[in-house]
Amino acid sequence: MNKNNAEINIGEFSRGALADNKLRENLRKATSTALIKRDEAVKISGPSFERSRERAIAERNVSICSLRELTARFCKNAEARGVRTFVFDDYVSALNEITKIIKEKGAGYVVKSKSMISEEIGLNDHLRANGIEPVETDLGEFIVSLAGESPSHLTAPALHKSRRDVAELFAAKLGVKYTENVEELAMIARKYLREKFLDAKIGISGANFAAADNGVISIVENECNARLSFGYPQTHIAVFGAEKIISRFSEMGSFLDILSKSATGQIANAYTSFVGACEEGHERYFIIITKNRYKIADDPVFSEALRCVRCGACQNICPIFQRISGHGYGFTYAGPIGIALAPFFLGYEKCSELIEASTLCGFCKKICPVKIDIPSLILEHRRRYYEDPSIVKTPFKKAKKIFSYIHSKIMSGPFLSSLIPPFIRLYFKASKYLGGRNYIPLWDKYEKRHFMDMPEKTFMERYFKK
C-alpha cells in the first residue's frame, strides 16, 4: 500500500528516476528482454495462445459477476478438504488473524513465497512489529527485502536492479565474497534460505488462481521456493484476493497458459502446484481478502479490471513504467493496471496525478492477455475525478478545467476560433521580441523543447480565401 498519506507525485519521482542512468539502463534492459521473450513464447504457441485468452476472458467475465457467491463456494469446498478458510474485508482483521496463527505455533519467523497481496495489506511491517521475522524466499523478493525496498514489478520484484547491484548488496548484507556470477549469487541466496526452510514452522504464500468448484489454489513459480514454503513447514497460510477465484477448476489451464507466456515468456512455468489438500499433521489456512474487490466487481465500467492475472506485461510495455519502475507509482500494483485500480484503494485526492500518468498510447491494452481496455479505464477515472463534486480538486486540475472551459467556448465556434490564430501569432511575436522564443506556459522547457513557429495563415484562412 501507499505508505504515506501524501498525494502520489509522479512528476517529482520521474525527475529523479530520469537522472539516474544506471536505473534507466536496468529498466530498459529488463523490460525489453521480457517483451522479446513474451513475443517469442506467443509466436511459438500459435493460435493456442489466442484460444486461452478467449477462454480466460469468458471465464473471468462469468466469475466476476458472482464473486460473492464464488467466494462462499470456494470456502465451503476448501473446508471440506480440511483447509481452514477466512474471508476479511479489512486488512487489520486479516493481519491479526495471521499473527494469531503464527503466535499459536510459536514461530519466530516465517518463510514467504512471492505475494503481492502481502505488500498490499502490509504484512511484512505488521509481522516485524509483532516480533516475527518475514523471510522472503523468492530470489527477487529476497533481494529487495535485503535492500529494504519494495518490489518494483508485479512478477519481477528486483527488475530495477542489475547483476552488479545484487553482487554489491549480497557482499554488504550477507558478508559473502563479491561475485557477479549469477549462478554463484543464486547459490548464496539458496544456501542462506535453505537453512531457513529447514527450521521453518510456518510458510506463507499467495495464490495465482483459486477454483471455487473444488477449493484448490494454484501457485506458479520458477525457483521451487513456493513449494518449500507451502509444503515443508507444518503450517501453510495462503493469502489472496477474492478476485483470484474462478468458477471452474477446468478453466485454470487457460489462465496458467496466458500467465506464464505474458509474464516471463515461458511456455510453462518451471513449477505449477495445485494446493488444496491437507496432509496428516499439517495445517493449511486460506485467508481471502475482499477489500474493494466486490466494489470493483459491481462497477459497470471497472469490473473488467478484475480480469487481471497480474502478469506485468502492461508494465513491461508502458513507456512510463519503463522510466520510473513500480516505485514511481506509490501503490502496490504499479503500471497501467495499477492506475486503473489505485483510486479504489487510495481515493481520488491522492491519485489526481497518478491518473494522468498515461499517454493513452494503448500498448497495454494490446498486450494484456485478458484484453483489459486500460486506457478507457484511465479515462473513466479522469472523468469521475471531475464529475464528483465531493473531490477536492488540486489547483492544477482546476486550471485544466478552466482551460478546457475556455477552449470549449472559443474553439467550438468557427467565428471565435478564427480569431485565435492571429492572436497567437501576435503573442508569439511579442514573446519572441521579449524573450527570444515562442513561450508557452507549461509547454516551455526551452533547453529541451522548442515550440514551432505558427505559419502566417491557417489552412482555413488560406482555403476559403480563394
Partner: protein
C-alpha cells in the same frame, strides 16, 4: 467519389500545407474534395482530460455539421481524431451516436480501402522511418493500410521499429504539459532510436506526433525531415 475533408486543429493551425497536400493526393486519385467551412475541433482534448461536458459540446457540433453534409466519406487527417469520433463519441452520447459516423475514415485507411492509392504514381529514392502513431495502431488497428501505401512507393526503403521497440512518441496531449519530463524523455528516446537507424526522414500518421517530435528535434538541432503521411505521398507523386 465525393469526400468531405476534416482538418484537425494541429494541421489547421501549425501544418496547413499538409491539408493542401492531402487535397492534392485525393484529387490525383480522382476524388472530389470538399471542406466544411464551419468545422471545429473534435473535442479530444477535453475528453482526454476527463471533462466530458466540454467534449460533448464539440461532439454535438460535429454531428450537427456533418449530418447534413452530402458526401460519401468524411476523411480525417488524424488517427486520434478518428478514434475520438468513432469510438469515444459513443460513450459521450451514451450509445446513441448516429450510425453515419461510420462514414468517417482516416486518410490512409480511405486511400487503402478504395484501392485509390494504386492510381498514384509514386516514386522516391531513399529511406524513411515510419512512425506508427498509437491511436492509429492500437485504437483503430490501422497498420497494414499505411504500410501497403508506403510499400507501393517505387524506390522507397521503409524502416520500422520492431514491435517491442515501437513506442509512443510521448506526446499524449495534455500529458505533455502535465508530466513534461517524462513526455520529453519518451520523445527523445524515440528520436535517438530513429537516428540510430541512420534515417533522417520521418513519416507519421498523426500531426500530434510530428509537432511533439519536431519540438524536441529543434531543441537538439537535429536535421530531421518530418512528413505527415499526405505530405510524403504528395511529394512522391510529383
Amino acid at each position: 467519389m465525393k469526400v468531405s475533408l476534416f482538418v484537425p486543429c494541429i494541421i489547421n493551425h501549425l501544418m496547413p500545407d499538409s491539408a493542401f497536400s492531402a487535397i492534392n493526393v485525393l484529387e490525383k486519385c480522382g476524388v472530389s474534395v470538399g471542406v466544411e467551412k464551419f468545422q471545429v475541433c473534435c473535442g479530444q482534448p477535453a475528453y482526454n482530460m476527463g471533462i466530458y461536458d466540454h467534449a460533448k459540446i464539440f461532439a454535438e457540433k460535429f454531428v450537427r455539421l456533418y449530418e447534413k453534409a452530402s458526401c460519401d466519406k468524411i476523411v480525417v487527417l488524424s488517427g486520434s481524431c478518428v478514434s475520438m469520433i468513432k469510438k469515444n463519441y459513443k460513450s459521450l452520447f451514451l450509445g446513441q451516436a448516429p450510425s453515419w459516423l461510420e462514414k468517417v475514415s482516416e486518410f490512409s485507411e480511405f486511400l487503402y480501402s478504395e484501392g485509390l492509392y494504386k492510381k498514384l504514381k509514386l516514386k522516391y529514392r531513399g529511406a524513411v522511418f515510419y512512425h506508427k502513431s498509437c491511436h492509429l495502431l492500437n485504437e483503430l488497428e490501422i497498420d497494414k493500410e499505411p504500410k501497403s501505401i508506403l510499400s507501393s512507393i517505387n524506390g522507397l526503403k521503409i524502416i520500422e521499429a520492431k514491435w517491442h521497440e515501437n513506442t509512443c512518441c510521448g506526446f499524449g496531449g495534455a500529458f505533455a504539459a502535465t508530466l513534461p519530463d517524462l513526455s520529453i524523455d519518451i520523445g527523445n528516446s524515440k528520436l535517438d532510436f530513429i537516428l540510430s537507424k541512420g534515417v533522417n526522414n520521418i513519416i507519421a500518421g498523426d500531426a500530434g506526433c510530428i509537432t511533439h517530435l519536431k519540438s524536441l528535434a529543434m531543441a537538439c538541432d537535429y536535421k530531421l525531415n518530418f512528413y505527415y503521411m499526405a505530405d510524403f505521398l504528395d511529394m512522391c507523386s510529383n
